[in-house]
């Protein structure tokens, strides 16, 4: 580690964060160097966001210290952190689209006349100054909803600067940006550096980190794995530290026979809504065979979720064709697709997978009510009970009573209810979007086992994951997506972390000029 300590603005010492049931951070040391871009990487659940939240005052440490400019600090709220000069820009921007640029920048910190009336003229003058400092042609009175995402991000940066931020934390700042917008952002970041602002930069896009970062810190499973000055390392180093060597995956899927084509996707294309050009899905073609587990890897915004939603029929303006055992699904509604044998397990369990007001049993049955009828119109309590109890047993869902509210279950068991709901529709092809997100290790393995069992039964399983290890361990074949395109198709035997990362970055390369 760098022995020179005087250019460290903030030092986190042996930071530990314990949540009920899990340790999110274990004795992590982290330095933020003054006027540098300090990159922070790690897979989902590595502890990046926890560390970030601690710095920003959203969460407090369980043990350990934060030392800012030689003085120990303990911000108890984002507002306290802000007062100490620590600002944060979240991935989902926190702007008010109905207010203009200067109103957004000074929201809750209004410049006033006599303490009660907003001094718009002063605010707009300062906004214009900030924009000049950032060299951005954004007018103070423009409505934020009329700005492009990249410009909105600049407004967020200006908002932080207006509060005299010394340390600016940026969480996945480029996930929604176009290449040109990324360039603008990088230019702004370099300017901020020369002005002495220290940046903490979190991103999954590793190539990007190599370009903009000065120091890099890798977290894995809540622990500090490695930290180094950027010029000394390369992409391979980052991936190896992120994923970990040797220890590898405990899970090896059982054998399952791969049969004929179950699902064929031909030239699936989905235009970007509201934009004249650009695609969310750009001529995607692939096939999934019965008994196969096909993994899809890609970064945020690569089009994975859009692919699944298009396959389910959520986007009627998508073009191209989807064939399920030779039968076209074109023009079919979600309901018809489910009846044909395609079923989605959505990424966001709470928002898309479950109805919180319904019980465990009613959630499980929601997609297959027509299979549980008596005299064709009335729900048969007996059939319902049989199905529900069978699946509670088969998937070993821990619930004392099937009529309990769904919210009383743990994340892993809730996810199993979503899986049971899908299985009750007798699917031929199952689309699983991040099936292990937010569930504990034990439940993850159970979900993996279920996936293999389904493949053994002859289902085609298509699953998306942002975790390299998971994709590498589970998939018979891997498709990598980037910017709505399939950029690589890799059989299990040839799949390596580096190959996946490289393919997931295709289309994100910056124009080298000016870098």
């Amino acid at each position: 580690m760098n022995p020179i300590t005087d250019d460290i603005i903030l030092h986190a010492e042996k930071v530990q964060k314990v949540y009920p049931g899990t340790v999110a951070l274990k004795d992590v040391d982290f330095n933020i160097y003054r006027g540098k871009v300090n990159a922070l990487v790690g897979e989902n659940g590595a502890g990046k966001s926890t560390l970030m939240k601690i710095l920003a005052g959203v969460e407090q440490v369980t043990s350990g210290k934060l030392i800012l400019n030689g003085k120990e600090i303990a911000p108890k709220s984002p507002r306290e952190a802000e007062a100490l000069g620590i600002g944060i820009i979240y991935q989902e921007l926190n702007l008010f689209p109905n207010l203009n640029v200067s109103e957004n920048i000074f929201v809750a910190h209004e410049r006033t006349v006599g303490g009660s009336l907003v001094n718009h003229r002063e605010q707009e003058r300062q906004t214009a100054e900030l924009m000049k400092r950032l060299e951005q042609p954004i007018k103070p009175r423009t409505l934020v909803s009329n700005l492009r995402i990249g410009q909105q991000q600049i407004v967020e940066i200006a908002k932080s600067l207006a509060r005299n931020t010394q340390i600016l934390i940026m969480d996945e700042p480029t996930s929604a940006l176009s290449n040109t917008e990324v360039e603008v952002l990088f230019r702004v970041i370099r300017e901020l550096k020369t002005q002495g602002v220290s940046i903490v930069y979190i991103s999954h896009k590793l190539e990007e980190l190599l370009q903009i970062g000065d120091y890099i810190t890798v977290l894995r499973d809540g622990q500090l794995i490695a930290t180094a000055p950027m010029p000394e390392i390369n992409l391979r180093w980052i991936v190896e530290n992120m994923v970990g060597r040797g220890s590898a995956t405990a899970y090896t899927p059982a054998a399952h026979e791969i049969r004929d084509d179950a699902l064929r996707v031909e030239n699936l294309t989905l235009p970007h809504p509201g934009k004249a050009q650009g695609y969310l899905l750009d001529h995607v073609s692939f096939s999934l065979r019965a008994g196969e587990i096909l993994g899809i890897y890609g970064l945020m915004g690569a089009g994975r979720t859009e692919l699944f939603e298009t396959l389910m029929g959520l986007y009627p303006d998508a073009t191209g064709d989807v064939l399920l055992y030779g039968e076209s699904l074109k023009g079919k509604s979600i309901r018809e697709r489910i009846q044909s044998g395609v079923m989605l397990i959505p990424e966001d369990r709470q928002r898309e997978g479950l109805v919180q007001t319904l019980s465990v049993a009613h959630n499980m049955l929601l997609a297959s009510l027509h299979n549980h009828l008596f005299l064709k119109v009335v729900l048969s309590g007996r059939k319902e009970k049989n199905s529900v109890e069978r699946h509670i047993e088969e998937l070993s869902i821990k619930v004392s009573n099937r009529n309990n509210p769904i919210g009383s279950l743990s994340g892993g068991n809730q996810q199993k209810v979503v899986v049971a709901k899908a299985l009750l529709t007798s699917p031929k092809v199952l689309l699983m979007d991040e099936p292990t997100r937010g569930i504990d290790v034990g439940a993850k393995e159970e979900i993996f086992t279920i996936m293999v069992q389904l493949a053994q039964r002859g289902l085609g399983v298509l699953f998306v994951s942002t975790e390299l290890k998971e994709v590498l361990a589970m998939a018979d074949r891997i498709l990598v997506m980037s910017k709505g395109r399939i950029t690589a198709e890799i059989p299990r035997a040839e799949a390596t972390e580096e190959a996946l990362v490289a393919a997931s970055a295709i289309g994100h390369e910056l124009v080298k000029a000016g870098v």
């Binding site: 509604s333 489910i338 919180q356 007001t357 319904l358 309990n404």
Partner: protein, 354 residues
């Protein structure tokens, strides 16, 4: 303790099904609050008023409750989807006028220069279809054109009322007894007739409550109504035809309003275009008092019936006791606000208990 025992054994489902079995006693009490409130009110007036418990009064009371409860049944479906139907009062008025017009003036087909007088059963059938069509209009506005339910049905409230006034230039259709020569007599029976000593309207309320509960609990449609109100997106991804199901809820509400229109018109033996004004508010109050969440997904028709009885007993008792009608209005408002406050309290309690 005695009171608690009575309530738990009564097992009236005033709240959502599927609650934990071993709920603490205060949670059970909260869940049955509408029923408890009803018992307390009933007990209070039974003790303090001589005439309250007389059979005659109880029948009058229930007849009044029936009107509100039937509207409440349809309203419950709509509110369960997360919507609201402000137009039911106007549909009551318009359907009354439609029925009155068909009886007194027949269907005038000026193109063919004929007037058709229908049998009374057909008159009632046409009136019900009219109510359902207006409900469908609401449903189409909400589902196909994404008009907010509050606004869509507010618009319909005005449109339907306006049409009711237009039909006979604001005048009443009086004396709807029909004409034996035209074969359309018998309409007043609906309002005046009795079965086993109880007016028809009470039987209709009971029948609709049972059928309504059955549909809500035991059919895919009912289950899907709850799912849509709880999480529309999850319901859609589970293959629920959200638009069709939501639309049906408004059609059911229109159906119930038409039934009420017929009952009132028959009771009065005349159709007045202003009938049913502000009925929607009473119906919403009954639904809310019955524990149905205005944000959708939680609630039962049984609860709504109890809610309607709470309002009915309260106003009937206060009238008997000679409480000024101005105070009655104030007290009704207080009761509604209290009900919603307790509902919020219960939800917080439920969340805390996980």
């Amino acid at each position: 303790m005695e009171i608690e025992n009575i309530q738990s054994s009564a097992a009236i489902p005033a709240k959502t099904a599927g609650e934990p079995n071993r709920a603490p006693i205060q949670a059970i009490l909260l869940q049955l609050r509408a029923f408890i409130a009803l018992l307390i009110l009933f007990g209070f007036f039974a003790i303090y008023s001589d005439s309250f418990m007389q059979t005659n009064n109880l029948i009058i009371l229930t007849k009044q409750v029936a009107i509100n409860a039937i509207l409440g049944i349809g309203m419950t479906y709509v509110i369960l989807t997360g919507g609201i139907d402000l137009s039911v009062g106007s549909i009551v008025g318009l359907c009354g006028i439609v029925a009155g017009g068909l009886i007194n003036e027949g269907l005038v087909l000026s193109v063919f220069d004929v007037v058709i007088y229908f049998n009374i059963w057909i008159v009632m059938g046409l009136t019900i279809i009219c109510g359902m069509l207006i409900g469908m209009f609401n449903g189409i506005l909400v589902t196909r054109f994404s008009v907010a339910p509050f606004i869509a049905t507010l618009g319909t409230l005005y449109i339907a009322r306006g049409l009711a006034l237009l039909r006979n230039s604001g005048a009443t259709f009086p004396n709807l007894v029909g004409d034996p020569e035209l074969g359309n007599t018998g309409f007043p029976k609906l309002g005046a007739g009795e079965l086993l000593g109880l007016p028809y309207s009470i039987w209709i309320m009971a029948a609709l409550a049972i059928i309504g509960t059955f549909i809500a609990m035991k059919t895919p449609f009912g289950r899907q109504i709850y799912a849509i109100g709880g999480n529309q997106r999850a319901a859609r991804l589970s293959g629920v035809r959200v638009k069709q199901v939501t639309l049906m809820a408004y059609v059911i509400s229109g159906f119930c309003a038409a039934i009420v229109g017929l009952i009132i018109t028959s009771q009065l033996v005349s159709a007045h275009p202003a009938t049913g004004e502000s009925f929607e508010l009473n119906a919403i109050a009954a639904v809310v008092l019955g524990g149905t969440s205005l944000s959708g997904g939680r609630g039962t028709i049984g609860g709504t019936i109890i809610g309607a009885f709470v309002i009915g007993v309260l106003s009937n008792g206060m009238i008997i006791e000679g409480v000024s009608s101005f105070w009655q209005t104030v007290i009704k408002g207080v009761v509604i606000i209290l009900a919603v406050m307790i509902d919020q309290f219960q939800q917080r309690l439920q969340k805390r208990n996980g």
